[in-house]
Amino acid sequence: MNSVDSKPATSSLIGSEADSQRTLYPYVTGTSVVGIKYKDGILLAADMGGSYGSTLRYKSVERLKPVGKHSLIGGSGEISDFQEIMRYLDDLILSDNMWDDGNSLGPKEVHNYLTRIMYNRRNKFNPLWNSLVLGGVKNGQKYLGTVNMIGVHYEDNHVATGFGNHLARPLLRDEWHENLTFEEGVILLEKCMRVLLYRDRSAVNKLQIAKITEEGVTISPPYALKTFWNFSAFENPTLGAEGSW
């Protein structure tokens, strides 16, 4: 990367793709992450697929990870870049702990730190090819936010990446409310994940749900959703769609 940066600007703009040391497209990708606030904290859901292009290449990729004591991250997009981001975050938490002074970074701080990293990398025209969801609880304060590969970031009561924005968030807008219990939250997330599984070709039926509350992080073991493929709408998908497919 550095060798590229030190060349005159023209060469890197005109140069062929083969000269580039940058991520031009992702290789192995994970699909949507969905997150919601609920009564006691935050819930995140993501499946465990890793797609190599359109091939469902890996089936056990953990995309929900704890960050320190107060935060939880979910990553979609390029898996290796997500692993790199986890390295940054683990370094961050380590050096934060090394102060050993009772202060610790909360979800808001981690989210902002990620935003700085993502935006900084996109400004070098070398983005980390991810959309991330960051949730957490600190001092009774729930936090849920997202940031993507070009540094766009926001907070909301429910967030989703990728296809989730189109398929899950409309459901969440209808059904989400502040006082969801843990069980209701899980049911709502499973509903979202099931719709994604039906309509998102890169989704796989193996998912995890992670919970963070004041007490700490719990990430569920992988499990599958019950599905029903005999809906009449599934039988002849091209029937009502003129033109495209």
């Binding site: 202060n103 970074l105 909360g106 808001k108 701080e109 902002n112 730190y113 700085r116």
Partner: protein, 289 residues
Amino acid sequence: MFRNQYDTDVTTWSPAGRLFQVEYAMEAVKQGSAAIGLRSKSHVVLACVNKTSSELSSHQKKIFKVDDHIGVAIAGLTADGRVLSRYMRNECINYFYTYESQLPVGRLVVQLADKAQVCTQRSWKRPYGVGLLVGGLDESGAHLYYNCPSGNYFEYQAFAIGSRSQAAKTYLERKFESFMDSSRENLIKDALFALRETLQGEKLTSSVCTIAVVGVGEAFHILDQETVQELINEFEIAGEEAPVAEPAAPDQAGVAGPAAPDQAGAAEPAADDDTLAAPGDQGAAPMDM
């Protein structure tokens, strides 16, 4: 010219295990005009004495806002104090840019102390000749720290530095136990009382002092002169009526909290003697302090 053969550079130890240049830097702090700080659970008050070097000049600023939640009061070389204030402002702004939250006071103080420590271990540097009272508010409450040229730092309930600060320390030592639950107004009142102790009978007016406050729901700010004068009038602490304190015993112990940094020791007579000196000798500092 030299007091002994081990004091020409900072990195040379004396056989007694002392670094004289560092100790001289700490002397510079004692010659600056007084600065005091005290805190309750929710507020920190910083106060200082404004000294003019001549009738014709204004005084130098001795209290600096670092960020909305942190401020410093300095005693010693004001120029060094300004440089360190700028450093602290930078650190706060950078932290805010990265995390969108405020730098914990304790961390800033450690960074500052580390910066001062470097100067005690490099042959081409000199220690900073300034002591800083760092007051601030963070998640864990209100804090008051003293940063010393030696690179040491201490957290205090209340503290005073600079010339004739022993008198203020004596006052604070007598009262500090009530500070934790003190109201903002009482804290300012005690700050003014403590400040008056350092004036040795000189009249306390708003023009000879600066007061600054930071606390819950209140960003760090320096009180304007009219407000300070009103407080002085309200508390009726202006007068030269005999000082409330018993004549300050020049005892060397630190105030509430950890023991004061080992003060120089036997070689030279304790410089706090200026509490006893005639008021005429205050111009003695070789540079503007």
